[in-house]
């Protein structure tokens, strides 16, 4: 109603107290491919759909889940190019911390700094908010953690969460299946089942990506063959 008149300028509040551009950014996220994450007692798993626009695309060249540090990885829902910018900035922030303190950056600090960058883009001139929500997973001195960061710059720590399309079904499914003492292997199976719920078409190791980090503190993306093995276990 009156909101649309205020939707042209990012830095103007609407009468209802919203920044409409951020709402629109969240809509862009909600139209993106589903991603989800689950924090287990001994690790974290994040997973995302990897639907490619055509069968001619070389799926081995597409990496939706990326490493920020050896023990922190990130998945996104929304605009891929925006996520790449954020991953680049986060990697630089993590390295700067390491150069200063000779210590790997704690996950909560990295998330805080990344969220601060996203917030800057909601309060500066001539820029637009990022059209992605991020799921950041890592294992540090405070154990396994999963964070979600939104285009507004707000961030939350989750036991399990989903972003993108089909998010309400995915979250309902996760709420039913999540237990506090879940181990990483169970979490991976649950993540696959949750993705399967809203998946259009045949799910396989080539059209989803799964990243895990366990107590060894090495984040890694599973190979398509490993994903296929887990899919077979789930059948």
């Amino acid at each position: 109603m009156g909101d649309s008149q205020y939707s042209f300028s990012l830095t103007t509040f609407s009468p209802s107290g919203k920044l409409v551009q951020i709402e629109y950014a969240l809509t862009a996220v909600g139209a993106g491919q589903t991603s989800l994450g689950i924090k287990a007692s001994n690790g974290v798993v994040i997973a995302t759909e990897k639907k490619l626009p055509s069968i001619l695309v070389d799926e081995n060249s597409v990496h939706k889940i990326q490493l920020i540090t050896p023990n922190i990885g990130v998945a996104y829902s929304g605009m891929g190019p925006d996520s790449r910018v954020l991953v680049r900035k986060s990697r630089k922030q993590a390295q700067q911390y390491k150069r200063l303190y000779h210590e790997p950056i704690p996950l909560s600090q990295l998330v805080r700094e990344t969220a601060a960058v996203m917030q800057e883009f909601t309060q500066s001139g001539g820029v637009r908010p990022f059209g992605v929500s991020l799921l950041v997973a890592g294992f540090d001195d405070n154990g396994p953690q999963l964070y979600q960061v939104d285009p507004s710059g707000s961030y939350f720590s989750w036991k399990a969460s989903a972003i993108g399309k089909n998010v309400s079904n995915a979250k309902t499914f996760l709420e039913k299946r999540y237990t506090d003492d879940m181990e990483l292997e169970d979490a991976i199976h649950t993540a696959i089942l949750t993705l399967k719920e809203g998946f259009e078409g045949q799910i396989s190791g080539k059209n989803i990506e799964i990243g895990i980090v366990d107590a060894s503190r090495k984040f890694r993306v599973l190979t398509p063959a490993e994903v296929d093995d887990y899919l077979a276990e789930v059948e």
Partner: protein, 204 residues
């Protein structure tokens, strides 16, 4: 006249059994004239982390203020105290930032790790870190201090014995240096307590 020997200073840190001791002299001078006999060179960053700064007195004070600021911010952001190694890396980075216009001070950092083991190190005025298992020294009396520590130090001393050793090393060294001295102050830090004592030596 060298800028680092304008005010005069002497500092030692020594490693003991699950404890450490850090000691300094108390003189503040302007070349040959003594201005103060209660100058503070050792500062607490948190309960189990101390930093001692030798060299130009104004830089001692400024470096301490800057380090305290950085640690307070770190504490607020990360909701924990800095580990000694982390703090040493921070000191080194802050000094190197001023590589071509440095602070004329040479810090010694002494702390207890989370598991109770002591940690000491020193850096030069532009941040070159030097870790040590036994003792570190700094200041205008450093050559005498090295000799005294080398001969008096024994590993795994209990807090009381460590106090005696570090005090003797400090007092005998500052007596050979005209611009440091006028007593001393010693902090012996263990996991559960800190004992601070002042020393009365040759008050000159």
């Amino acid at each position: 006249m060298s800028i680092t020997s304008y005010n005069g200073s002497a500092l030692i840190a020594m490693v003991g059994k699950n404890c450490f001791a850090i000691a300094s002299d108390r003189r503040l001078g302007v070349q040959f004239q003594t201005i103060a006999t209660d100058f503070q060179r050792i500062f607490e960053i948190h309960e189990t982390l101390y930093v001692g700064l030798s060299g130009l007195a104004t830089d001692v004070q400024t470096m301490y203020q800057r380090l305290k600021f950085r640690h307070k911010l770190y504490n607020l952001r990360e909701e924990r105290n800095m580990r000694p190694e982390t703090f040493a890396s921070l000191v080194s980075a802050m000094l190197y930032e001023k590589r071509f216009g440095p602070y004329f001070c040479e810090p010694i950092i002494a702390g207890l790790n989370e598991d109770g083991t002591p940690f000491i190190c020193t850096t030069d005025l532009i941040g070159a870190k030097q870790l040590s298992k036994d003792f570190v020294v700094s200041g205008t009396a450093s050559e005498s201090l090295y000799g005294a520590c080398e001969s008096m130090y024994k590993p795994d001393l209990e807090p009381e014995e460590l106090f005696e050793t570090i005090s003797q090393a400090l007092l005998s060294s500052v007596d050979r240096d005209c611009i440091s001295g006028w007593g001393g102050i010693v902090h012996v830090v263990s996991a559960d307590q800190v004992i601070t004592r002042t020393l009365k030596g040759r008050m000159d």
